[in-house]
Symmetry: C2
Subunit: 316 residues, 2 copies
Amino acid sequence: MNLANKLNKILAGDLQAAARLMRGIDDEVPDAIELLESIYLHTGRAYIVGVTGAPGAGKSTLLGSLIPVFRREKMKVGVVAIDPTSPFSGGAILGDRVRMQSQGVDKDIFIRSLASRGWKGGLSRATLNTIHVMDAMGKDIIFVESVGSGQGDIDIARVADTAIVVLTPGMGDEIQIMKAGILEVADIFVINKTDRDGAETLRNGLEGMLEMKTYLPDEWRPGIILTEAISGKGIEELAREVLRHREFLISGTEMEKRRKERARLELMMAIESSLLTYVERIDRDYLDKLVDDLALRKTNPRSAALKVINPSTKQL
Amino acid sequence: MNLANKLNKILAGDLQAAARLMRGIDDEVPDAIELLESIYLHTGRAYIVGVTGAPGAGKSTLLGSLIPVFRREKMKVGVVAIDPTSPFSGGAILGDRVRMQSQGVDKDIFIRSLASRGWKGGLSRATLNTIHVMDAMGKDIIFVESVGSGQGDIDIARVADTAIVVLTPGMGDEIQIMKAGILEVADIFVINKTDRDGAETLRNGLEGMLEMKTYLPDEWRPGIILTEAISGKGIEELAREVLRHREFLISGTEMEKRRKERARLELMMAIESSLLTYVERIDRDYLDKLVDDLALRKTNPRSAALKVINPSTKQL
């Protein structure tokens, strides 16, 4: 099957073709990389929602309740799980819920877990590539579920159109928020498991922190939604808040700004990765020759490095 | 003063010129970088001894006793301290000892602490550059004092001609040795503070581990020296062991191998640093243009990155 055929299958939402491509990307098969490049040109339509929170905050259960709300609106859904503790790894929770809703497996929900593949935390090329494939498949909304642990999450939030931060009472979340700088990147705060003690304390602390920040008149001010994912309390409200934030982004220049930010991030990641490949491909014999020259003090490390890098001095 | 004059001053061992150059390198003054490149061609004569051990192992006190032994042989000495807990930061201990020996300040001992300048552990360009300046100044032996904490030390040992690992009884050192892989890189083991309980246990454990390793007939087998740095016990023996190791290196091909290894390490560090500089210098307007193209899906991240990197596509 040629490239155009494969591309068309993915654009038509074919699950098997998409799964095959994702495996190919993981294994760095040249054909897959080439297909991915074509696919990128057909992306940018899906709405991307980052869902970040500590392990055990109930992110998966929350998504399991939230997704059916969007499915009722006929929106096609993708889920990328990069939390290694997520039950999505097996697809269990969501699978069960979806079955409950639709009396069968819902083909318009595509779930992929990136948790087990050498996960190091934070944003990876694999995450972005998976988002692109789901986007090209025609998913209207893509949820990216990640652990709340520092710098990595801030990156996820940069990539998302809407960044949801999930907190739970009694987990020392206030300190976490301050530490991770998550206050700066969250568009919506969810206080989940509000049946637990301390939900009000957490809400008050969060509101206090939000009040310390000054917002411009046309700036988005993060809301706080209280949920109980298992009973479904607050879930409709959360879905409305996501759509309200999307309206906010589209009505102004913010959406364009976020998309450019994401493009810049991807460009810098691609440059970094290409430079690494470049170094790995430097001719070993040429390096050995330079090492000999250095050991004999015929040159110095900086000049030798520039010879390797600067192609006007030495073609590679 | 022109470059040749500055170079000659340093080659003549001028302390002020050397200190000025080191400050210039730290501040990335272009003249200083240029001078450093000239200096490199005059290096490779000094003998480099790495002294590694946990904070509190007594490395500085040990050096304070060891250095006078080499000074009595009229060897000129350099010390680079990259242990942030080293008393060399103020030069106190060594200064006192040297005064005791020579009834005045000894101008043939040059000490520089790199501990306070954004120290991150392990080997840095600053360490290597400082070694090069001292080498060019005509120091016969340069001691590099570093903390014993994992990968960083293994790098220090790669750069040293003789790697001394300093252990003390009752600090759980056996486990440290196994963990850090220091057994593989140490040329000489020192058990310091042998007046403490557990010195014999530590020696037995260490000997046991050394016996598990098989050595080729012409391979160096690390010795174990017991010292009490404060009383001076074992210090002469340690100095002899360093010189014996130097003889071993020179008599075979090992010295050349180590020097090449060091040159290779410096080359790779210089390539990495040049690539970073290269990325930092990419034209911002050109990047902005590519980001716009990406946001509009006129190109994909990988192709855009290759445009930036590959000079046949786009000259920078």
